[in-house]
Subunit: 162 residues, 2 copies
DNA sequence: TGCGTATCCTAGCTCCGAGGTAGGTATTCG
DNA sequence: CGAATACCTACCTCGGAGCTAGGATACGCA
């Protein structure tokens, strides 16, 4: 479904949000990737690749050199998880057929031919994923909130164990 | 995200639902996989693998021999897309960490250790996917319904083009 | 000024699963 | 019987996930 890119990357973002050093006049104190890799038990060299994507998406900022590191580019509440996952995984589409045009409308690739009969299904799935990710921000993840929202997630009745 | 297994398999199911021969006293007239492969432009040998999963999940029934083939095991309205996708793809989980226990509750693997800080996120995504799939049945896909439901899927404002 | 610590960049490596092929056997109809 | 079909097992190939390696560049500090 999602790869470890999303998992690791989200963990990095959460780590940055939690450990955010106080802003010392000159921007927030950056956190080195090494310390994050250590704390999370993830391979540093691999995280470097992931964090690059986050930087390209302007979700984190970096300071090079000694005592350098990364910090969030915006307050956690202004970073949606859709942005984060998108930056890490690329465009979110349940199957190839569904993609998004320049205006954000969902379209079926192979337009012109017979549109895939199952378009409706994948469109809905895509929509529900993107909506769910868009509704959450980094701020929602920095605290271990047990029951923050009243009843947003009714646990699926049948989870369909294979 | 989802593989072609889901795509092809769903198309087979839709095809079966659409072409469903009249019940001729002795159960519905089965449709050969070959004709489906032809009509959909998909490789027959590969479909055989997929349809096996559908059969194991008791979503289709088969008749062997000449004039044999497959037919739906239940009326389309009683087959949820969650069942279909689950049969084809295996358990639906956005990342490894999230799985479902015997009672259908969502749990984080590596329980006991520090639970993944991002559990809340993946749990919600999983929930929204499963819910969406569970709310649709095969019957919803057999007609090209342009706007059947009033406003179930508000198109995501930003589709986040990479 | 030079050393240590970081980010940055490019290249490559390995392994596994997706996606498909091949070829056989069993079953049923005409 | 023989054609058509489902059923089963084994195999192949290729691309991407998930790393690793090694350097170049930038910054802080003694």
């Amino acid at each position: 479904m999602f790869s470890t890119k999303a998992e690791y990357g989200v963990r990095v973002m959460v780590h940055l949000a939690r450990e955010a050093g106080d802003d010392a006049g000159d921007g927030p104190v950056p956190i080195s990737l090494g310390s994050i890799a250590d704390a999370e038990g993830l391979p540093l060299a691999y995280l470097e690749h992931l964090v690059r994507r986050l930087r390209n998406a302007e979700l984190v900022e970096s300071r090079r050199g000694a005592h350098g590191g990364y910090s969030l580019a915006r307050p956690p509440a202004q970073i949606t998880m859709a942005e984060v996952v998108e930056a890490l995984e690329g465009e979110i589409a349940p199957i190839e057929c569904i993609t998004a045009d320049s205006e954000g409308a969902l379209v079926c690739a192979r337009e012109g031919e017979a549109p895939c009969p199952t378009k409706l299904l994948w469109t809905r799935v895509q929509g529900s994923i993107v909506r769910t990710l868009s509704e959450m921000t980094l701020a929602d993840l920095i605290l271990p909130l047990p029951h923050r929202v009243p009843a947003p997630l009714s646990p699926p009745k049948e989870t369909l164990t294979a």
